[in-house]
Symmetry: C2
């Protein structure tokens, strides 16, 4: 479906330029409002077919952008997972889930667009599946979810756990996007940082995931 993917040289530079432009445009305007032509122009490509030449479909482009970030997230998460070992403390596994995301966002500097781009992808009915599939191939995420599952095993009924995991995902994704937007638009409260956002999210996620269930 796509051309061969050069890892170095001018082709690689063009791919990166297109991904960078697409991420920003998708984050600001939504996946459906941005054309390949606009992305090509923003990436400084004179050829109006540059995007389809290098990526084929929008799905391939979106996936390539997500993969570029998730590789970095995975490196950080692997470190957290190794530190967590066989911990049975829920907080350790919440850190494995959360901190790689906030640390990656922090590393992108200000302004960044990844967190808002991720919201667009997560709320797209088709693309979200594709991305969810990709991230589950990551050993570090699989081990994190297993760790969380073990900690909740005795307290949260099995039929409730997937809904809790989904809510945790919403909370991380949307809180990060808000933070990124506030930082980019310089509307963030003084003292706002990814570190403090992560601290607040960590406490809230522990509370959310471990909340007693009231059966009705």
């Amino acid at each position: 479906m796509t051309r061969t993917e050069p890892r170095t040289g001018r082709g690689a530079d063009t791919r990166v330029a297109i991904m960078t432009a697409a991420e920003r445009l998708y984050a600001e305007h939504g996946l459906s409002s941005v054309s390949n032509r606009q992305i090509g122009e923003a990436a400084g490509q004179g050829n109006t077919t540059a995007v389809s030449y290098h990526f084929g479909s929008k799905a391939t482009l979106v996936r390539a952008i997500m993969t570029r970030h998730s590789e970095h997230v995975d490196v950080i998460r692997t470190r957290y997972v190794e530190a967590a070992g066989d911990s049975t403390d829920l907080r350790d596994w919440v850190r494995c889930l959360l901190r790689p995301v906030t640390e990656h966002n922090a590393a992108l500097g200000v302004p960044s667009w990844y967190a808002r781009f991720a919201v667009q992808v997560m709320t797209d009915p088709l693309l979200r599946t594709l991305v969810a599939d990709e991230s589950l191939t990551r050993d570090s995420l699989r081990r994190t979810l297993q760790g969380l599952g073990r900690c909740l095993h005795d307290t949260v009924p099995p039929e409730i756990r997937p809904a809790r995991a989904e809510m945790a995902r919403h909370l991380i994704t949307h809180t990060c996007a808000e933070r990124e937007r506030a930082l980019a638009e310089a509307t963030a409260e003084p003292g706002t940082s990814w570190e403090r956002t992560a601290d607040a999210l960590e406490d809230a996620l522990v509370g959310l995931l471990a909340a007693p269930t009231t059966r009705r």
Copy 2:
């Protein structure tokens, strides 16, 4: 900015038709990708300026759609707030926050678009402020937030409470939008209902809001 707003007769019918079409189109395609012309066409208006004639700006149209829903949410919430009285049980106030939203969504039937429309509005940098201002004029919401504040007063530090409230809002908004989408696309798990979604959210929100804070 807008014309006089007829409450009855053909003008009122046209306004409702436009609001209904706009809500669906905005929910499915995002606020920025939908033109007034598309809304007019979907609402069966031959005159291409019908939307601007009846609503003036996009902000006015969006606000009118939100108000139509929030009036119903407010009626339900007022009932919950009166039942809560001067309760000091956090769960009672979480119910006041949550249940009017899920009950209103349930009352809309399947398919509905309001929950996904609300996500678009909440993630729009400009329109979100306008809507937040409007909902805070509702006495029922003000009393709910006060009730929540009283319950968290001794356990959650004051500088943490606004972030927790924001996270609660994210969780309700996005979980409802997901549920609505799954119901509309018939991809929901068997047995999915707004009632069960509300039960799961209620437990999670209590856990999130009351989570112990670890100071660093």
